[in-house]
């Protein structure tokens, strides 16, 4: 009984956190802000998958969380390196806006 209540409460907290992350993703001034908010949204996704695993009482969802953590880390590294290379080719900060 208490675990149902805490699952619902944690789901509401995660939804508000994801809302904040998506707001920063929409209005972030530069590309690096968007990359950082995508990194945060990966964290929210891993938390949501582990919440789903407790809700359905099935530990197979933990493998999905592992793969999601791997892919999120690689995506963050790739986007940050992309921004770095784009800067080194001589384009200024103004081109980094989109």
């Amino acid at each position: 009984m208490i675990i149902q209540t805490s699952i619902i409460l944690t789901g509401i907290l995660l939804i508000f956190g994801a809302f904040c992350g998506f707001a920063r993703l929409l209005m972030g001034p530069t590309l690096l802000d968007r990359v950082m908010s995508l990194d945060y949204l990966t964290f929210v996704g891993i938390g949501g998958i582990s919440l789903l695993s407790i809700y359905f009482n099935d530990p197979i969802y933990l493998d999905i969380a592992t793969v999601f953590a791997l892919v999120g880390f690689l995506a963050t590294i790739a986007f940050a390196r992309y921004a770095d290379v784009k800067l080194k080719r001589g384009k200024g900060v103004e081109q980094l806006d989109d």
């Binding site: 699952i7 409460l9 907290l13 956190g17 945060y40 695993s53 963050t76 590294i77 940050a80």
Partner: protein
């Protein structure tokens, strides 16, 4: 008793993740925002993954959850370092309180 521990870990992880989200939304600067999403986000997700260990209490689940936790703790600082180095080197406009960091650049 196990349910109480699981609920405490879950709600604590949710609260820390929400704090990280508010920090991402409200902080004035990219270098400060990265602090929120790296530290509080890692702590929140780690608490939520550790609650799986108490809920299932099988050896396979515990090993996989600790694997996820070790992977997160190892890779979140690396990702934050790459983003921070790229932001610092590109001379993105920072807020006034972190201005003295970038005076070496100019």
């Amino acid at each position: 008793m196990i349910d109480v521990i699981v609920s405490l870990f879950l709600v604590g992880g949710g609260i820390f993740t929400l704090i990280a989200g508010i920090g991402v939304l409200k902080m004035p600067d990219i270098l400060i925002r990265m602090h929120a999403t790296t530290k509080a986000g890692t702590l929140g997700v780690g608490l939520m993954v550790m609650s799986l260990c108490f809920h299932f209490s099988q050896s396979g689940v515990i090993i996989r959850a600790i694997g996820i936790l070790i992977f997160l703790v190892m890779t979140a600082p690396a990702a934050a370092h790459v983003i921070g180095r790229s932001a610092y080197g590109s001379g993105i406009k920072l807020s006034k309180k972190t201005k003295n960091l970038t005076q070496k650049n100019k």
